[in-house]
Symmetry: C2
DNA sequence: GGGTATTTGTCCGTATGTATT
DNA sequence: AAATACATACGGACAAATACC
């Protein structure tokens, strides 16, 4: 009895899922039925199902049953782009989304002035407690929540003339272009750092993720630099991992072209 | 009684962890002690602990106890680089690792000739079932497992002269340079697609991850192109998300410099 | 809207197995 | 070998969510 019973049951169900005997989206037998099929207690069956749940293979819906998870056709976000234009503000993503025939919505930003915490301060190379402007937005595609984004600008930019950063409306043409014209600060490049973690409560709610940490989120820190290497912005974007892919293009890469669109498993085109 | 009891217990413990009352790495009270503290049954306490486990906050060790997870100082892998050089073969990473004073080991490749499955075929734009060379390697840093990598080359490259692709030894100077000299195929760029998923059994074993899917892995597909836009290689690299960060540099970005190395929480320098 | 059947969720108690010290 | 602590497995009772009539 090397393998505990609940794992054997889980393994048996897993094989049935991956062989196609239990198709994506289909309903499993109820816990009572499985209890009889496997001659186990209901709790043991539940342990097997919980195991499959953390593997991301099934989900349970109270009052309904247990279902095989459907693969999602993921959104693809390209991180590389024109360094001197957008690179993480409002305009860039719109075009990309429109190009794939999906409709994007962006909330008006929630603008706050606050003191830099440890993370913001170290990324912007300013003193902890120094004032920053925070602009927070929610993004939806085709009505489903897609990302949460917060940009932090040093308050010194506002004093240098970029007063519209304080307005709670999207900045037409993008914040990067606005910084160039309002206070002659030109973005020269940016650096993304990608981490993965469990969503917090707010994120789980907004993205409609299970409250436990089964589905994790991408946590992308984008620090933008001007030509002198000063850090002019930190943008933190959060995406649910289950319905997103990230793309990085380096060197000469053929255009996105060819509608040989992928159905899911391997990151394809 | 809006919140079930096990969630209340979990929340209480979570607050104690995040407030520092239970420091990273410290041991929680045993299940029996918690049962008395919270006047709940041992099973309910276990449900609370299981909840914290899926959130990635604690881990249980049979025979020892339950411990607060320690944050790991992550390895950072930069995906952007010189498009015409390495970009995903053996040499590139070595330098990067050495630069951060860590010692890297790379296994000799396991070389196989096999037929392209659906994923490999669609990424290389060849027919499913066509022959490809697969070169698989394990990478370690400071003795701890770091990544699993498999590169797929169309068999046509071997016929065009790149016969050393079939040898089960690392290719000095990198496979990309070798392709250039052996059959005049020059890499012009590459495209990475980043996904996150639960590890499979082999990956969980190699990376010493819990067998359930709590810690997920980065799944990075790198397709390399020559100047004509032909796809010359697919490299699939898998990293555990808990101890890795990905880096993307675009445009002018200051050098990595300054040893103000981060201790963990926010992706910093 | 209400009522009922179905299905999963929570909680308890108990016994025994297995890993570690 | 013994003690400790988590893991597995069982059975039972009731709650909560959902679907259907």
């Amino acid at each position: 009895m090397a393998e505990p019973m609940y794992r054997q049951i889980a393994e048996d169900l897993r094989l049935k899922i991956e062989s196609g005997e239990l198709p994506r989206g289909s309903q499993l037998a109820t816990e009572i039925e499985l209890r009889e099929q496997y001659s186990a207690s209901r709790n043991t069956v539940r342990d097997a199902i919980k195991w499959l749940t953390t593997l991301g293979l099934v989900e349970t819906r109270p009052g309904q049953g247990t279902f095989v998870i459907e693969k999602i056709n993921p959104y693809v976000t390209t991180l590389t782009g024109d360094a001197s234009s957008g690179g993480g503000d409002e305009t860039v993503y719109i075009a990309e989304v429109a190009a794939s025939h999906r409709e994007s919505e962006i909330s008006d930003p929630r603008v706050e002035i606050l003191r830099a915490d440890r993370v913001v301060a170290s990324n912007l190379r300013i003193d902890q407690g120094a004032q920053v402007v925070s602009r927070h937005q929610q993004r939806l595609i085709d009505g489903t929540p897609w990302s949460l984004q917060t940009s932090y600008y040093p308050m010194t930019l506002v004093r240098a003339g970029a007063t519209r950063l304080l307005e709670a409306t999207s900045i037409d043409g993008g914040a990067t272009a606005y910084l160039a014209e309002s206070c002659d600060i030109h973005q020269a490049g940016y650096r993304d750092t990608i981490a993965v973690r469990a969503p917090d409560e707010n994120e789980a709610w907004f993205f409609k993720l299970a409250a436990d940490g089964r589905v994790s989120v991408f946590d992308i820190f984008r620090v933008a630099f001007d030509k002198q290497g000063n850090r002019i912005r930190l943008t933190v974007t959060v995406y649910p991992c289950d319905r997103n892919r990230l793309r990085v293009d380096v060197g000469e890469v053929p255009p996105r072209g060819a509608p040989g669109t992928s159905s899911v498993p391997g990151p394809d085109e």
